[in-house]
């Protein structure tokens, strides 16, 4: 469904991605992990057309992203951004309804399909009770769920999520990632940049570890999350063990290591992942 082939990208003359190749089949939930500034957000943006690669190519559903109209792309790829600016106060339902934009004609109104898609999205993301509140008054976590609802209302085969759980409470972290899992189970392709390695290991089919603009490793969480690779990516010594309840890999950061990046342990070692990310 998504094919990324030897992609390089620059932001403000600075190379942030180098020769990344990756493919995600339909029905898979891929987690992008890696330290701040590794290029996870930029990689997502090469898929939704916000960043044009300087080299290589990206294809969605067999067709190249480059040169496609925003509308055409938005019917295939929905994005849950990390933050959104909300200048004037729309209600949460209005924001979710904006997800229907790529399906609506400029000259026609809202039809039954639009209405149903919006209600379904509110239902599935547990935001129906927020629907009539102005988004400006919602908490960061509630707003993030509204943005997920907006992406669902877009009804696309591909879903991109940039730190969808960063400002969520633990119950909603689990609910959100379970929902994305479920969506993948229905045949959609989901790619999420996720800060929390344990959560990523628990919910994703595969992980792609990105560090310093390069793909360090890709595979099942068990294959990717090894002490050796994590030290190279994050510059921190870690212990990877099996979680006693979930049975998935869990990462404990110990102290500064001698990876190429060196430096102190990263956010993963802190109890709360920070909401800020690369670029």
């Amino acid at each position: 469904m998504i094919r990324i082939d030897g992609v390089a990208a620059e932001l403000g003359g600075h190379e942030v991605l180098r020769d990344v190749s990756l493919s995600v089949p339909p029905g898979e939930f891929l987690g992008l992990v890696g330290p701040n500034g590794a290029g996870k957000t930029t990689l997502l943006r090469t898929v939704n057309g916000l960043v044009d690669p300087t080299r290589g190519r990206v294809a969605v559903a067999g067709e190249p992203v480059a040169g496609r109209s925003a509308r055409d792309l938005a019917r295939r790829v929905a994005t849950v951004p990390q933050e959104t600016t909300l200048g004037f106060d729309f209600s949460a339902r209005d924001v979710v309804a904006m997800g229907r934009t790529p399906h609506q004609s400029r000259f026609a109104g809202v039809d039954e399909a639009d209405h149903d898609a919006v209600e379904r999205a509110l239902e599935r993301t547990d935001t129906a009770d927020l629907a009539d509140r102005p988004v400006g008054e919602l908490s960061g976590g509630e707003r993030q769920r509204v943005l997920l609802a907006r992406a669902l209302a877009q009804e696309t085969p591909v879903l991109l999520l940039d730190e969808p759980t960063a400002s969520l409470d633990i119950n909603h972290q689990v609910a959100t990632l379970s929902l994305v899992r479920e969506l993948a189970g229905e045949g959609r392709t989901a790619v999420a940049a996720i800060h929390d390695l344990d959560l990523a290991a628990r919910f994703c089919d595969r992980l792609a570890l990105v560090a310093d603009g390069e793909l360090v490793a890709g595979g099942t969480p068990r294959e990717v999350l090894t002490a050796d690779r994590l030290e190279r990516a994050y510059g921190v010594r870690t212990v990877v063990s099996e979680h006693p309840v979930t049975g998935t890999p869990t990462v404990t950061a110990l102290g500064p290591g001698e990876g190429p990046l060196g430096g102190p342990p990263d956010a993963e070692s802190e109890p709360l992942p920070s909401a800020t990310d690369d670029d």
Partner: protein, 350 residues
Amino acid sequence: MHRRARTVAWSSGLTAALVLAMLAAATVGPVRIGLLEVARATLNAFAVPAGFEGNGLRWVHPFAFEVERTHQVIVGDLRLPRIALGAVVGFALATAGTVMQGFFRNPMADPSIIGVSTGAAVGAVATIVFPLAVPFSLQWAAFAGALLAGFGVYLIASEGGRTPVATLLLAGVAVQTFLGAVVSFLLLYAGDSLQRAVYWLMGHLHTSSWPKVWTVLAVAVPAYVLVAVHARDLNALLLGEADAHTLGVEVERTKRVLLAASSLVTAAAVAAAGVIGFVGLVVPHVMRLLVGPDHRVLLPTSALAGAGFLVVTDTAARAGPAELPVGIVTAALGAPFFLYLLRDREVHEL
């Protein structure tokens, strides 16, 4: 649909209020004329094309009520053109203001934010001060000045097919300042025409005529339609350009369309009536409080309310013993109201 019903209800209510305000405004003046007489005279002035005659259209007046001859002239030829111009200019400025506030995601934005009004001022004042050197009529010189300024700001702020909104805003401020200096310089050499130039700058509707109304309308209506069919894109742009793109909005193209349409409509309004402040700033704010931020409702209601607001303020401006330029009245009413907004409302996004 709920939203559509709301749009229709608000728009019809505001249209009715506008028509009433226009008729009531036509009763006001040195000669008092009753509302019924005004309504009759208005219908008498109403003409529809009914085929061709020679090299023009043949106009037919479908109504012929009994109206005193002088009253017919006062209402049809003197008051109505002015009231209609007020309505059209108010409609244009409020439309442009609504678009600019959404476009810049900035509640301080108004129609002249990218230098269009100051450009018009340069054209107009140059024509007034050096009538021989400028071979156009005042209205056309102002219109050309406005478009040159707006397009210049756009070119300055654009690079590689992109026009960052922040750059556009700053370029607009810089160009406005520069052109303001040009206007001041021209005024130094104004001599006898100083009063006329200053009067123009203050915004006025006293030089109204039907041809002026038609020229502004000819620009305002297509520009409004163009903006209105982009209402949904404008909503999406409020979430930020990156978000708008992922929702399928062709961001740069939409920005160009919105900028061009609102600059054109502002240029036409300013060229006809001078720089009338605060209509484009305050009216969209008030309507946003009343109907919410959705541009599908906000655009028509703001435009109609802008029309009504300018009709009422211009009537107030000419009702007193000495006629005031309407720009003074809109600012005098608009500024205190804006201060109230600043104190009381959440205008914190700056």
